[in-house]
Structures are given as structure tokens and as C-alpha cells.
Symmetry: C2
Subunit: 340 residues, 2 copies
């Protein structure tokens, strides 16, 4: 992994697991069914189980009352894959192609011309500005409920280019178990993603068990309108109003959730401030990064990635002793379909 | 009640109850403990109980799956009182007085000068602009957790001028029962208020049983900062970023909750669009307005009120057959302390 994170830093990370203030010697009192069967035994799994056990143990030194058990998770690269491009980008590009017959102006208008011409060199250089323009034009001009239907139709038919499966099958089995384990122990689990809030809400209930009101994300503006027949509706405008990334994540957690989490997981630099804010609260905390180390079963990338770059947040994790999940080492399976 | 809503319109309203599509003849199958003991028997109570029973009856024509049972409530004037001024305004004015020793500039700066001088004529003419300025300056310059403590300290010591009781005792007992009744029947109950989201969250859990992430409201901007000692925090800025009122309410419900409610209650013109959006969804719906008709036990006001004006929304309720709760007629008690 050229320019990647080396073996020495990995050892530092493993050592750091011991420094996160968890009582690793505290064993569960009773043998139970393993709540995390897709996680290999080791320091990472142990740290997770010990943290959850400790905050849920009434009378224990790390006990946290259930109303404070707030857990926040990034989505792209933390709960599902994000390569070769964020899945919402794949959706937006498909929407450009689907909408093109109704938008003759796009033929001579960048970045739409490049998308329609399949100009890969131009597409690779779109940058955030070009992507936002595509998202704004493809995610607007309809009611919020029409957009929801569009997302569900796309998910039902689109296939991931590498795995030839619906995108919603490319979720991480170990993280599904982690989410369920937290909820069993009284946690409220939230998504806090740079992805679009209205792109995620239609499917995260079924896939992650997370209801729409527990999804925080980037959003476009909507407008209240009284439609024909006196029926009120909300229409999506071609204007991104909030980017839920970097320092925007703790700001959005405060705005939407209204509490500082006690557990946060992410996988890239965009998650750093969320983890920093989580870490700075009083009492037991668990912060973690998913490190993509498995090119064979998933992907391997970090400091040099175009999507999901893990660079500054890695250094911060080392400094602060955050947990690092090494996909290759820590996960028995990546995707649910591997278990079949 | 000069300029108020007369007896003819009240009769129209009572007649309209029959037109809201509820099966009023459907009786509960079994005699049970009354879930709404502070509500007088009559068409309003019957409409509420029938609606909740119908949407929760599996296999019935109006059944709604639990994940769709979203109920939204305005706060000021719907769940607690809002006279002689919104309680958050009382808080903000008290904060001006408390902060004045550290803000010598306020002595000669409006609207702060009028507040500090107790100039009632000037205060009555503050308007939204003056109020927002006071809110911005008194609700900023501290971390979100410091602001939370300030709100809790004020609630512990401030007393309502008419009742000489903590403001949080001026909540409506019948609405507390209504909220609990909905939750018992699988509803998620949300507050959607023009009031400040960070002013409500510190106390609504204890008082209404509503967790912080189920509160939607107006908000000020916050900024992520790395403080001394490497601790991340969020600081409140002197800038209102969103006013959750009128057409802003359905926009905010979509942004925060991500679902169209099936039940909404409000009491003023600022709630009209929330109720219109709720009403326009498919399937069983219940929309209601609390009408302040009891000058003896609470207050009586509608079309002419400075705080909580009910004018256009009343006309809309008549047109659309929304439920109108007449405080004097429908509520046995107003406040919890009356029961002692």
C-alpha cells in the first residue's frame, strides 16, 4: 500500500488500545452467546465488548444512564463501502443519464456533458464543485416523496460494478452486529454522514435498523408549497444547504441529536472532529476508526484515497489512542452475502 | 373576548369534527382505564381516542404501522402556557439583567437599554427584530453545555408572575396525558416549536418524556473549536440560523424527522403549514388546535393576541375540519398542580 500506514504505526495502534482507559481485564460475568460473531477475537473486539459491558453495568464505575447512551456512526466507508466512488455519486451519475432526455441543455453544459459522453478523464477531475452541481440538479425539482421513490427504484435495479450486487448488500456484517449489540444494551444508534440525508433515509431502516429520525447528513433546501387541490407538499430545490463533514459533524450532532455521543465510529478525515468532540466529554468514551486494509475482500486505502481519505484522522487516532479496526485482521467476513 | 371567535364558528367546528373521516361510532372493544382522565367526555376526546384506537388496530381499515406513527406538537401555547410573554422571552430578559454588569455597552444600546431601564412602553414595541437581537446576545458566547446549565439554573429559580410557580409547572395536564397515551400506542412524539431548540432540550425529557433528539425548534449557529488542553467543544454564536415557524415547520420536520406526521397539534398561525402538510398525506390523519378560551384558569385569546395569535389557522381549521380543543369546555384541569 504505497504511502500507506505502516507496520510500526500499526504496532503503536495496538499498544494504544491498552491506553484508552478501558478495563481490559474486566471479563463478562457469564458466558453468553457471542454478540459479535463476525469479529475475530483480539484486542479490538475485546475493547468493544468491555466498553459496552462497562457502561451498561449498573453500579459500575463506568455506568452511563440509558438516556446518555448515544452512539454515532459515519456511513460511507464505516457501515458500507465507498469505492470506486461514493454510492451516492453513482446514483447521481445514473440520474444524469436517466434525466438527460428531458434536459437537452446538458449536452453542452459541464459537468453534465462529460458525464453523458462518458469522458472518464474529465469525470476524474470533477472535484467537489462539479459533484455538488450534479447532486443539486439531479436531487431537485420534485417532492421529497418523489425523491424517496427515485432512490428506492435505483437501489432495486442498480448493481455495483465490482460485485454485481445491489449497493445495499455492500454493508459490513460486523458493523450490523455492532449496531444491534449496542441497541440491545440500551444505546440509541445514529448515522452521521457526509452523504445526503434524503438519500439514506429510504433504506437505512430496513438495512441497519435505524429509523429516519436517527439519520444526520448533508441536505438540500426544501420549500413548502400548496399544490393543486389544496394539498401541501415539500419540493426539493437545487441548492445544497448543509454539508455534514469535518467540523460540521459535531455541529450537526448538536443540532439534530442535542447530546454529545459517548461512542463514535468513522473511517476518514471527515470524521475527525466528530470523534474529537465525543472524546472530550466526561466519563467513559469509545472512539474508533475503520481502516480499509483488505484489498482482496474489500479495498485497501488510507492516506492517498480520493474517496474516504484517512490521513490527519489517523495521526489523531494514534495521538489520542482511539481504537482502529483493521478490516483484514479483525473481521471474519466483510459482507452479509459471504456468510451464505 | 373582543374580536374573538364566536359561537357560530364554534358550532361549525363541532359539526366539522364529524367530517374528519374518523369512525366515531367505532367504540373500543373493551372497557379500560381512561387514558385521558383530565379530558371531559365529548366529541373532542372521542375523536382523539377513536383516531388512536383506529390507527393502532391491526387489520383495521385505518391501521398505520408503528414506524409511521409520528406525532408532532407545537410547544408554546400547545404543551405549556405562553402568556403574558413566551417563557423564553422571560428567560432572555432575565439574562439581559444578569449579564448587564459584564456588558457596560448595553446601557446606551437599544433594545438592551429599555430592558435594563424597565421601560415597558419600549419593551411592548420590541417586535421580532428586537427580540431576536436580545436572544442572539444572551444565548451566545458560551459552550452548548454552559448554555444548558444556564437554562436549568433559571428554571430552578425563576417564577411565573401570575402563578408564582416555576415555568415548567405551567404545562397542560391533559396534553401530558395525550403524549403518554400516544406513546403507549406506539407513537413517537416530537416537539416542533418556534422556541429555541437548546432552550427546550434541557427540561423536556423530565417534563414531557420527550428525549432531546425528538425536539425540533429554532436554532442559533454553533462553531466547533479546539479549546485549551486539546478538548473539542461547541460554542454558541450570536447568530440565529433557523426560525422554526410557519412554512419552516414542515421543512424542519422533513429535515429532522424525515417523515410526514400522521398527527399534529398546534395553537396558532405559526402551526398552520405543519398541519396542512400533515393533512395532505395519505391515510388516517388527526390535526388539532388548542383554543385558549379560559381566562379564569389560564388565558383567553385568539385573533388579537401578541403571542400565539390564532387567526388564519382558525379559518383554515374551519375549512378543513380540524379538531379544535376548547380549553374551558374540554379540559377538567389545566395544570398538574390543580390536581393536588
Amino acid at each position: 500500500m504505497s504511502g500507506g500506514i505502516g507496520a510500526i504505526e500499526r504496532r503503536q495502534m495496538i499498544a494504544a488500545v491498552g491506553a484508552i482507559g478501558l478495563c481490559l481485564s474486566a471479563r463478562r460475568a457469564f458466558a453468553q452467546t457471542d454478540p459479535l460473531p463476525s469479529w475475530n477475537e483480539g484486542a479490538v473486539k475485546e475493547a468493544i465488548v468491555d466498553f459496552v459491558t462497562n457502561v451498561a453495568t449498573s453500579g459500575g464505575p463506568d455506568f452511563v444512564s440509558p438516556d446518555q447512551r448515544v452512539a454515532t456512526f459515519d456511513n460511507d466507508g464505516t457501515l458500507w463501502s465507498e469505492q470506486p466512488v461514493y454510492f451516492q455519486v453513482a446514483f447521481a451519475l445514473d440520474r444524469v443519464r436517466a434525466m438527460a432526455p428531458h434536459r437537452p441543455d446538458w449536452k453542452n453544459k459541464e459537468p453534465f456533458r462529460s458525464v453523458l459522453a462518458g469522458d472518464k478523464a474529465a469525470l476524474a477531475k470533477l472535484g467537489q464543485k462539479g459533484l455538488l452541481q450534479i447532486v443539486e440538479e439531479t436531487h431537485s425539482g420534485m417532492t421529497v416523496e418523489q425523491f424517496r421513490e427515485t432512490v428506492l427504484e435505483w437501489l432495486a435495479t442498480a448493481r455495483h460494478p465490482r460485485f454485481n450486487r445491489p449497493y445495499t448488500e455492500l454493508v459490513y456484517q460486523p458493523m450490523l452486529e455492532f449496531l444491534a449489540y449496542l441497541r440491545t444494551n440500551g444505546f440509541k444508534t445514529f448515522i452521521v454522514s457526509g452523504g445526503g440525508i434524503e438519500f439514506m433515509r429510504p433504506w437505512v431502516g430496513k438495512v441497519y435498523g435505524i429509523p429516519p429520525d436517527q439519520v444526520v447528513g448533508s441536505s438540500g433546501a426544501t420549500e413548502f408549497r400548496m399544490m393543486a387541490g389544496g394539498k401541501a407538499d415539500l419540493v426539493k430545490l437545487a441548492k445544497v444547504e448543509f454539508i455534514d463533514d469535518g467540523p460540521g459533524k459535531p455541529v450537526a450532532i448538536n443540532r439534530f441529536i442535542g447530546q454529545r455521543p459517548i461512542l463514535s465510529f468513522g473511517n476518514s478525515d471527515g470524521d475527525q472532529q466528530m470523534l474529537e468532540w465525543t472524546a472530550a466529554g466526561a466519563g467513559a468514551r469509545l472512539n474508533g476508526l475503520v481502516h480499509h486494509t483488505d484489498a482482496k475482500r474489500e479495498w485497501a486505502y488510507d492516506r492517498q484515497a480520493s474517496f474516504g481519505r484517512l490521513d490527519k484522522a489517523w495521526d489523531e487516532a494514534m495521538r489520542r489512542g482511539w481504537l482502529v479496526v483493521d478490516m483484514k485482521r479483525d473481521w471474519k467476513v466483510i459482507y452479509p452475502f459471504e456468510e451464505r
